[in-house]
């Protein structure tokens, strides 16, 4: 058994990132995420990394993209308003296929909203916040221990797919304390060292749809741009090249969907009532489910851990066998909207609350009773 | 003239955009415009190797080489 630590969610996020090999953090303080920056400021210099507090969130994400291109595993952490400011550069990371992790500890929005209250209002912003069509990877844990391990997975996926990973948390998760068992054997994905140069180096030559981009300053001089580009890294905005690369960027995710997706199922097999919920809200849903099960009601919880790409295939199979699907979330129905793509309106029941509080197990039970 | 330096004026017409800066700034008029206002050598003997043309050419289209 590994060491047991009693950690705050934000602290677990920072410690997990360090375990994953974090070497650079650029950030700007914002409630309820600031402890992540504070922990990184403390930890990074002691293990060969560097920390900087930038002048704003745009600068923060720009700095981590630069650091990642120079070979350092990089992360920033923020909350709603800061996440909004980061959207343009997030798109840069997707376009130029640069690995890094952006943590968004969700608080009440829009605008300054409710800095110290939780919400799940940024689920769709994580999907579509930056302009243009693009694939996205976003993870969302439910507990402090899961935060520790999922942030490591976030780094591994970022590096493996050369893609920014959005790591969603919420105010409850960021600020709560739980025990975490720090296991000894954790696998960490290291970026392949690109060295050989046959002719002129092409930073966007692909291996299984993933670019073989080197790090700056390691002997291969190359160009990176946020414009559509060809294998050489230089702009190519021909329709043919744009279509080809868009298709590939989507394929990079779609062909690896099993490796990317992760979810948890709990409760009854073949349930009549299926509760869909993510993050800390799912814990309330699981409590409600247990109570329903003990009352003899066939209910189960489906909890996406990978929120994007959304685990649609599995959920739609489960939903097909259920009578009602209640999507429980601290927002106006963002996951429910996604579920509408494959679950009929008669079956789908959004359960939403926007009062900056988690929807209680009792309330969920009440809603279930209402549809039985 | 003994000891007089000679220069080769190298013009790359593929790069020249006919902006006129090189020959506008040439103090000796060793170079001038051709019919399309691109750079052309008028009298290489007049060139004193001052590099005005090279320094002002934004297009890497003219270079001066000292040959003697």
């Amino acid at each position: 058994m590994g060491e047991i630590k009693f950690l705050q969610g934000n602290e677990a996020c920072a410690l997990g990132a360090m375990r994953a090999g974090l070497r650079f953090f650029g950030g700007y303080p914002i409630t309820p995420s600031s402890e992540i920056a504070e922990q990184c400021a403390r930890l990074l210099p002691c293990s060969g990394g560097r920390f900087i507090q930038m002048e704003d969130e745009i600068a923060s994400i720009a700095s981590i993209i630069g650091a990642s291109l120079a070979g350092s595993k990089s992360m920033t952490a923020t909350s709603g308003p800061g996440f909004s400011l980061m959207q343009e550069a997030l798109g840069y990371g997707i376009m130029a296929e640069i690995p890094f992790v952006v943590v968004n500890v969700m608080r009440g929005g829009p605008s300054t909203g409710h800095p110290t209250g939780p919400s799940q209002g940024d689920i769709m912003q994580a999907r579509w916040g930056t302009h243009g069509d693009h694939p996205v990877i976003a993870l969302y844990p439910e507990s402090v221990p899961e935060t520790y391990y999922e942030i490591i997975r976030a780094f591994n996926l970022a590096e493996r797919f050369r893609q920014p990973v959005i790591f969603l948390m919420d105010e409850i998760l960021g600020k709560m304390n739980e025990s975490v068992e720090i296991k000894d054997d954790i696998s960490v994905f290291e970026r392949e060292k690109i060295q050989s140069r046959d002719g002129r180096y092409r930073p966007y030559a692909m291996k299984d749809d993933i670019p073989l981009t080197a790090n700056y300053g390691e002997g291969l001089r190359f160009h990176v741009t946020g414009l559509f580009h060809d294998e050489t890294g230089f702009p190519d905005v021909s329709g043919e090249n744009i279509q080809k690369n868009m298709d590939r960027m989507y394929r990079k995710i779609e062909n690896n969907i099993e490796e990317l997706q992760k979810w948890e199922e709990s409760g009854a097999d073949n349930p009549e009532i299926l509760l869909v919920s993510a993050g800390t809200q799912a814990r309330s849903a699981k409590m409600a489910c247990q109570e329903l099960n003990s009352r003899g009601i066939s209910a189960a919880v489906f909890r996406p851990v990978t929120v994007w790409p959304f685990p649609e295939k599995r959920l739609s199979a489960l939903a097909a066998r259920s009578k009602k699907v209640l999507v429980v979330e601290m927002n106006k129905g963002q996951l429910a909207d996604e579920c509408r793509k494959f679950i009929s309106d008669e079956k789908l029941i959004p359960v939403n609350q926007l009062n900056s509080e988690m929807i209680s197990p009792d309330e969920i039970i009440r809603q279930v009773e209402g549809v039985l | 003239m003994a000891g007089k330096k000679e220069f080769l004026i190298k013009i790359n017409l593929d790069f020249c955009k006919a902006c006129g800066l090189c020959y506008s700034y040439c103090p000796t008029k060793a170079i001038g415009p051709d019919k399309e206002f691109r750079a052309s050598v008028v009298d290489a003997d007049k060139c004193i190797g001052c590099l005005q043309c090279e320094n002002y050419c934004p297009d890497f289209a003219i270079e001066i080489e000292e040959i003697k």
Binding site: S63, I64, G66, G217, T225 | C57, P58, F60
Partner: protein, 272 residues
Amino acid sequence: MFDYAEYLRLDKLPHIWCYGCGNGIILKGAIRAIDKMGWEKDSVMAVSGIGCSSRATGYLDFNSLHTLHGRAIPFATGIKMAKPELNVIVFTGDGDATAIGGNHFIHAARRNINLTVILFNNNIYGMTGGQYSPTTPKGYFASTAPYGHIDPSFDIVELALGAGATFVARSTVANPREMEKVIHEGLKNKGFSLIEVVSNCHERFGKRNKMKSPYEMIEWIRSRSVSKVKAESMEAEEREGKIITGIFRQETRPEYVETYDELVLKKARGGI
């Protein structure tokens, strides 16, 4: 003969800039200055934002990064923090560095992080069609100032000085040799260096302001240029509208990443 080809991605030429655009004059001056440093090409990192000027990085055979409008400096900051051994040079425009990226510009100067910023000041937003920038002079015309421009403009040198840059200079495309010299001095500085180079955009600034050709515009720049030494003996009124050239500050102050690393070392030795 100076070998520009050594530093160029020749297959990318001719470049996208208009005939006679000062950007090319600055690029050449920068190349000559970099050459004087004797750096390995692999050790040079060229970073730019968005704009005509920011296209410079694509032509240079270094490590190169073409980023977002206004954000070249924070991208460069991350690179410098991750690999301080790289010689990081930022190519940026007046809009890029002092409008959308103004905040990053002053903060990088304040930190004294070792970046050399070569700012192509053409007094306009060239790439987007000639809208006014923070340095468009009052009374001149721009596509978004059809009746004349009313905004007071930034003095970029004063801005950099006020923010704490340790090397600050201004030159113009009318004087390519002097420009090369001050860029070289800036590259030598171990800290934040700003070299503003006043340039001509005859296409999108000049043509709206009775200066059709690159030559006319460069001569307009020359006619307004005075050296710092000369300007010192001029009355404030006389200095109005002038482009004062020269080195305004060249001093040593602890560099940011080095200071960070010294602190970490002190901590490791139990000194904190």
